[in-house]
């Protein structure tokens, strides 16, 4: 129908390497871009601020994480801490009067530096040991933030974000915050897409798949593992600060605790490791599924069909993530992205049954 490979001829190498070689894909992307840009016009403030905004920001965070876990194959169970470092760095700098653009950059750099420090463990250890090293990062950073009053302002304190402006636009109104988040999500998306089609991404995947074969063609394994940690943590740090400034408009330790880390891992896994579309799908699914489920259960208890205590209610989302991670690992390790891809390929060859790639 509209998805067709036949009839698309490329005469230059750059054309064969474009992001969306199929015209129908380009149309889709264009439509999504228009919808996203026009969202403040047709969407109610409630939906914009409590669904679309966090979805964009968490998608960016998932993409940052999937760059590390999916492309580079380095497990990271401390990504909440990475985002926390970014958020706290930028809020303190912004409060001290540093321009917001610079504060964002510093947030990224600080997260990248500390992320690399713990990532250095990845040079020596793999798999479960790396999970332990990054878990240690999560708890260490959490502990430092909570216990050093200069950072958190006290264990249960909440720091309000100061009034800042980005590229001369004040980041205060919902619309401004939405567009900043959209801009950042777009940048991260393009970055990850481009990394995947250039030498940097190939080197990361090579180190992930067969490190000895990567070394034999000249890839410095240590360097690329560290670069993966650096890039991913940089993006995570900036995303943490965007989350603080655009969504919460405040910073408090619990925004970045272990639960958030698990949520991010779930988003990356459910979406499909290493996939960009999967980052968006996974983030959307993990954010929305508990809401839908909780509403459902609340209705059922109201109707008297079920009797669920409020404490159990609070644990349902966590149980759900666990079940989802296990379920996807067992039945569709490539995640929602694979399901999307299957559907797309079905249309690509319709009415025939098979594709070659």
């Amino acid at each position: 129908m509209f998805y067709r490979l036949s009839g698309v001829y490329h005469t230059r190498y750059s054309a064969t390497r474009q992001l969306w070689p199929i015209p129908a894909d380009r149309w889709q992307i264009g439509a999504v871009a228009v919808l996203a840009l026009a969202a403040p016009l047709y969407m109610s403030d409630l939906y914009l601020s409590s669904y679309l905004l966090p979805w964009l920001i968490f998608s960016a965070a998932t993409l940052a994480l999937t760059l590390l876990m999916g492309l580079a194959g380095q497990l990271h169970f401390g990504f909440g801490a990475v985002m926390a470092i970014g958020a706290y760095t930028s809020i303190h700098l912004a409060r001290a009067g540093v321009p917001f653009e610079l504060a964002l950059l510093a947030a990224g750099l600080m997260a990248a530096l500390i992320g690399c420090l713990f990532g250095a463990a990845a040079l020596r250890v793999k798999g479960l040991y790396l999970v332990m090293a990054t878990l240690a990062m999560q708890f260490l950073v959490d502990w430092v933030i909570v216990n050093v009053n200069a950072i958190s302002g006290g264990a249960v304190a909440t720091l309000q974000t100061p009034q800042v402006s980005y590229l001369f636009v004040p980041v205060a109104s919902l619309t401004a915050r939405y567009y900043l988040a959209l801009l950042w999500a777009a940048i991260v998306t393009l970055l990850v897409l481009n990394i995947k089609r250039t030498s940097f991404g190939r080197a990361l995947v090579a180190v992930r798949d067969k490190d000895f074969a990567a070394a034999v063609i000249g890839v410095n394994i240590f360097k690329y593992k560290l670069l993966a940690f650096f890039t991913s943590s940089f993006l995570g740090g900036v995303t943490g600060s965007i989350l603080a400034f655009c969504f919460y408009q405040a910073v408090t330790p619990s925004q970045f605790n272990f639960d958030v880390t698990i949520q991010l891992v779930a988003m990356a896994l459910v979406g499909g490791l290493g996939s960009v579309i999967g980052g968006f799908l996974g983030a959307g699914f993990v954010l929305l599924a508990p809401i839908v489920l909780l509403n459902l259960i609340a209705r059922m208890t109201d109707a008297g069909w079920l009797n669920v205590s409020t404490t159990l209610m609070a644990h349902i989302p966590l149980m759900l993530y666990g079940a989802m991670i296990i379920g996807f690992l067992l039945f569709e390790p490539l995640g929602l992205a694979k399901i999307y891809d299957n559907a797309r390929k079905y249309f690509l060859v319709w009415p025939f049954r098979h594709t070659q790639s």
Binding site: R12, R17, I195, S199, A203, V205, A206, A213, A215, V216
Partner: protein, 250 residues
């Protein structure tokens, strides 16, 4: 060009290489033969930095390779293929060969972010080089296939292409014709000879097929239990009584 002097390597109590010395001249095809487990792959792993020798020295064009890490050795101009094909699954043939260009490229996240102004030109320039090699090894028909779906003989050819993409001066082939039928073998020999001519290579060839070794090698070394039991011009080396004894098992 490449010289090993009294190279020894142990694995636990097993002495996989003992006092192996050889000297490969610029421009020759040098054969390395020996029964299974005689230490051929171990020698290659020592040269390419995976298992540095515990005794002896390995020199390549004036560099001592003993303490050099594998990726540095690659950029000195030594490329190799593996006995068990070591391609990157899930990537296309093209991407695998492009990875061979790694040492000439400047990968960075920033260059990727500004793809259209920065990385694209480099990608296209190296694509041109890769297409030359695809042409040389006749891989056009599988260019965009994922490597795991193509036949083994083809995969070995892709691995050769990836090694050639690095523009090495020395090429080490670890049993490039293992598991191939006669026709595929002949193709492979042709490609190795073509590549050697076109790219001015020195080749170290490990093979069990003696017909291939005798046909295309200039000189050869025969290993048995990690020791050199014969070396010299290829026909002399492979017909040495000690070699025949080693193969037949005395």
């Amino acid at each position: 060009m490449l010289a090993c002097e009294k190279v020894s390597r142990w694995f636990g109590g097993v002495r996989a290489l003992s006092d192996v010395s050889l000297d490969i001249q610029q421009g020759e095809i040098f054969g390395l033969v020996g029964p299974n487990g005689s230490g051929k792959t171990t020698l290659v792993n020592s040269i390419t930095g995976f298992y540095p020798p515990q005794q002896g020295t390995i020199r390549f064009e004036g560099h001592t390779l003993n303490r050099v890490r594998p990726h540095r050795i690659a950029s000195l101009g030594i490329a190799r293929t593996f006995q068990n094909v070591a391609l990157f699954k899930g990537m296309s043939v093209l991407d695998n060969i492009l990875l061979g260009r790694h040492t000439f490229m400047h990968p960075s996240a920033l260059a990727s972010l500004f793809y259209w102004w920065w990385a694209e030109r480099e990608e296209v320039a190296h694509r041109d080089k890769v297409e030359e090699i695809i042409d040389l090894l006749q891989l056009e028909s599988v260019r965009d296939e994922p490597v795991e779906v193509i036949p083994l003989g083809m995969q070995k050819r892709v691995e050769l292409a990836r090694a050639l993409a690095a523009e090495p001066r020395m090429l080490i082939l670890d049993e490039p014709m293992a598991g191939m039928n006669q026709e595929e073998k002949e193709y492979m020999v042709r490609f190795v000879l073509d590549a050697k001519e076109a790219l001015d290579l020195t080749v170290l060839l490990i093979e069990h097929h003696m017909d291939v070794i005798s046909a295309i090698c200039d000189r050869a070394v025969v290993l048995n239990n990690g020791e050199v039991i014969a070396q010299g011009p290829v026909l002399e080396a492979v017909r040495h009584p000690a070699v025949i004894a080693a193969y037949i098992g005395e």
